[in-house]
Symmetry: C2
Subunit: 366 residues, 2 copies
């Protein structure tokens, strides 16, 4: 850090009083400003989460309120939670065709449309929050995302982040990779594909059925999000072993506009929305951090639950299998190859710095 | 993570077409809005950094431009770099008395006024960026900061973050704590106080003199910031050993207003400035991340430079000494005791979650 003396370089200190003679009080002029370009706008936003879903659902309501506040009421966004206006996972298509103006969801869900999109949502063994945001901003990530979404008549903004997610709940202890063989685990997406290569049978189950399936032993394990949301599901009551994760190190949520709806906004309105989406992006991360910390503290008081990392051989094998999976996507899809080239280059460049700074620091501190 | 099937719970999917019949296109009305409250405002901002100082100086210019943009020109902030209008470290007092409206600096520099303020700037073995921001937002940190600054007629906002800083450059290898004894090291502040307890003689030197002192052996070591800014100083040319840090895990920069200047802004203007300060806060962090990664990549190609963590006994002893130092501040200053109680409670609560999530993740990934 710079120190006090650093400020004395290159010239003697000018006496405060003489200096301030030229420093008048700020001027608050009385002319009011008529921002003609800020037409009154009403927009419909549909989300993939229930209205009051912790952190994510409430985060979207806060976003709409904040936009109303900062725009002096000129931008009025009506929020429709999961299935109220549009089916939860139809939001992408409906916004694309102009049926709604905005949706809030995760790029994670659109890999069926184009596997490259899943990279924008975060990948196993991928970037941390800070790395990922730096890639969007300084590594070309945002440009690539905009380029691909443009084909769907959409304009994406960052809309939240879960931070690191947990690996999941297991009924039996996992001492080595052999213990995973044949286990029935509720785990969707790329994580599921990866675990299937480790011998697990990935199962898809609706959220409301997981607890009972885990309790009855119909499934042996389930992945969900992190301590705060997992404890609301009650998993700790029916599974004793809780493992930290590497499938979702910093899942990105999105606030995506129909392109024409975006373009109809004035320049100031667009900036207001970008600024509020940035606030939502970080607020959700900060809320996940503190809520997970509180939940984990409670969970740790439960002596029946054992919390740890997966054994080394599970992690090592998962890395190898993940690398093969990526090679397959790269060879099959040119968009994936293009986005992956940018993403992996940035990750390699940032891996050493994050290791030297964040990783060394956490290892030293704790 | 929630999966696709989770969205089908609690009711069948409504056919997209029938659903959308009630979903009209957004309405862009033509009434223009006259936001009378948004008076045209001119403000003077003085910083503690040169105008074009990388990341920090340019970040403040970006802030002023962004405020101008989002306010449709209604808020015009003139930025004065280091010593142009106010001596670099007089900005706190001058803003306090109303000579300027805003300053950009770091709480780090005001511990002489009140040691409690240094906690808001970040402390050795303290919180990471995400933990620290969560504390400000959800752990009462912001309220405590506002309460103390209010006594100085100031209103603080977050204005940037360096992320983790490095421990410093050494001319000789440090194999154990004994190698620190008697070394002359340029290191200011709390870090210097801590290193003096490890046997180092902390030296204060103006920035422009450090390189030559290190080259000639007048000093044996120097702390600065991180790879990006350190390489601009040329330290790698005259010191071979570069150690990762624990004195400044996430230094907070501030954007602080004279209280009357803040109160004269309309509610919308205040929110605009809060939103842009949040953008500046994260943008600087993201820029430090990517710039440090690029610099470290270059530095790693230099085979003369050895980069590592400090030996374990240095870290262990530093922790013990730091704890004694904190106890001393707590017993001497009631403000410090009050802020530390909140800070340390939040850190303890978040330490386990960060270990289980971020630390386990980085150790698994890399």
């Amino acid at each position: 850090m710079l120190n006090r003396r650093d400020f004395l370089i290159g010239g003697s200190i000018i006496a405060g009083t003489s200096l301030l003679s030229g420093c008048s009080k700020s001027q608050f002029e009385d002319k009011s400003i008529n921002i003609n370009r800020n037409k009154k706008v009403k927009m419909k936003l549909a989300t993939s989460w229930p209205d009051n879903f912790p952190i994510m659902g409430t985060g979207v309501s806060n976003f709409a309120n904040r936009v109303r506040e900062v725009s002096g009421g000129s931008i009025d966004i009506e929020v429709y939670g999961k299935n109220r206006l549009v089916p939860a996972l139809a939001v992408f298509d409906v916004a694309s065709s102009g049926g709604i103006d905005i949706f809030h969801s995760g790029p994670y869900y659109w890999k069926g449309k184009n596997p490259a999109i899943s990279i924008f949502g975060g990948v196993p063994f991928g970037m941390t929050f800070t790395e990922n945001m730096s890639w969007f901003k300084n590594g070309g990530g945002y440009d690539l995302w905009r380029e691909i979404y443009d084909r769907y008549n959409l304009y994406p903004l960052l809309g939240g982040n879960t931070g690191p997610q947990m690996g999941g709940w297991f009924r039996k202890k996992i001492d080595s990779i052999d213990d995973l063989k044949g286990l029935k685990m509720r785990i969707p997406g790329l994580g599921g594909e990866l675990f299937s290569r480790l011998g697990v049978n990935p199962i898809l189950l609706p959220a409301g059925d997981i607890f009972t399936a885990l309790e009855r032993g119909t499934i042996d394990a389930s992945e969900w999000v992190g301590p705060a949301l997992d404890m609301k599901m009650g998993f700790h009551k029916v599974a004793k072993y809780y493992y930290s994760g590497w499938t979702e190190p910093a899942s990105v949520l999105e606030l995506t506009f129909n392109k024409q709806s975006w373009q109809k906004l004035s320049k100031e309105q667009q900036i207001m929305i970008k600024l509020v989406s940035n606030e939502m992006n970080t607020d959700m991360l900060y809320n996940f951090q503190s809520e997970n910390a509180i939940a984990l503290e409670k969970l740790s008081q439960n002596r029946d639950v054992q919390i740890s990392a997966f054994p080394d051989d599970v992690i090592a094998t998962a890395k190898i299998e993940y690398s093969k999976l990526i090679d397959q996507f790269v060879s099959e899809n040119s968009d994936f190859a293009k986005v992956w080239k940018s993403y992996s280059k940035f990750l390699e460049q940032n891996r050493d710095w994050s290791g030297l700074s964040s990783r060394n620091y956490l290892n030293a501190r704790d």
